[in-house]
Symmetry: C2
Subunit: 295 residues, 2 copies
Amino acid sequence: MEWKNQMKNYIETVNEELDKYFTLPKDKNQQVIEAMKYSVFAGGKRLRPILALASYQIFAKNFEEVLPYACGLEMIHTYSLIHDDLPAMDNDDYRRGKLTNHKVYGEGLAILAGDGLLNYSFEVMLGDAIKRDNPKPFLRSIHEIAKAAGIHGMIGGQTVDLQSEGQAIDADTLDYIHHNKTAALITAPLKIGAIIGNASEEDIKNMEFVGRQLGLAFQIKDDILDIVGDQEKLGKPIGSDEDNNKSTYPSIYGLEYSIQKVQELTDSINDVLGRYGEASNFLYELSQYLVNRES
Amino acid sequence: MEWKNQMKNYIETVNEELDKYFTLPKDKNQQVIEAMKYSVFAGGKRLRPILALASYQIFAKNFEEVLPYACGLEMIHTYSLIHDDLPAMDNDDYRRGKLTNHKVYGEGLAILAGDGLLNYSFEVMLGDAIKRDNPKPFLRSIHEIAKAAGIHGMIGGQTVDLQSEGQAIDADTLDYIHHNKTAALITAPLKIGAIIGNASEEDIKNMEFVGRQLGLAFQIKDDILDIVGDQEKLGKPIGSDEDNNKSTYPSIYGLEYSIQKVQELTDSINDVLGRYGEASNFLYELSQYLVNRES
């Protein structure tokens, strides 16, 4: 279980770094900062930052230089949850057992807190890149993150998801949602870890490939757990996708094929990671864990 | 009226450039792009991009290189209007005589369109900066824009404005709102025009000063027009600030002092611009126009 210790270290490091960015002098804007902090420190698993650190450490040692970008990714992920939970979107009152942002601070401030996190993510990353002697890999990484989070990535996926609410969709549309709403922001950390870790273009492409496969496997696993998961372990009722008439991978392709698909994706991830030997151990264990998880 | 021709040219150039960024291949995300375009091309005055071009042209000739950043500023301005108009914020049904974004596309898509514009602004600017041999001034400019738009700038101002709704506020708080909600995103274009135009640090500071004074004068003028303006010229009813119990510069400092303050700010702008001779003519005329406007 050495990788779980590594995981703990990564999470602690990320939390400390995030803490630094949110330790700000008291000013009149204090309430929006409080609302931002509420969601950033609401028990997120830090999956995206961890993927950035893990990818970086395949190619380089000291991960300090990737931290601002890892945290930027987490801020973008958090803003997307705040806006997704709003009444005009998914209308959720709880997330991870806690009241959602707008339930605590009101809708207006929740909108601003989301906007604030998206903007602050770029502010933090740009503020780091500007200090670098050779800013190019950092600039490229911020650009990659912007593309993954934007209308041709996450926001594109959210749009199609919003439009598809309560209606059956075809396989193409489901693929679009899965690839963009979820996988894009799982691919980005793996890619930028390699870019900042000074990996070759081929290695960067490999990490991007791993990201895409992992993102898709992660999402299909989510869909599967909603059918066959253990309510107690999940901490939420199963069958909600079916109740909401939500098209999922199993509802379109069948449960058996979905399970098989996760296995195929996992095999292709392991195949690529295998080329990096021991350096990729952590990422291998983490992806095993993510596709085999029971909650 | 030569400056008005120049103004027309600038507007045309900005519109053509914006058009380029929003000419995108049809995909499943099409609806969010349509919603973004609706607001970007809803008759905005393009003030922020024009200020960036005008500042740049004090120091350099060919303004092509500042265009992506000028357009990025306009996208951020537009997103802030979409989110500001939402029911949870100002709850406005019309802007510039047209239905607001959420009235046309629904609240969910309007939230995503705003998010999309903020993110796309960075995507466009970073996509340009990444191609530059020396990306540093461009990187610095994007960072300046992020700071101006964020929690220590525009979003900070919006937060305090939202909290102050319907209640009397003190002079300090009003200053904070004016400086951050409005002036920050008027200062940024003047500053980045100088940075990308390769101006000296002193010149960059001067343009920043002009921006702050102009932003404040512009906002106070707005407050004044709501009291003494001509309803027909304004195209909206006057007295709405008083009706909404909104604290404004005149309500706190009195009308006479407000008019005097605009004059003082204008004098200080002219004083600085005077140092740049003919090169600053356009900016001089534009600021005269903005502080003397009747609508």
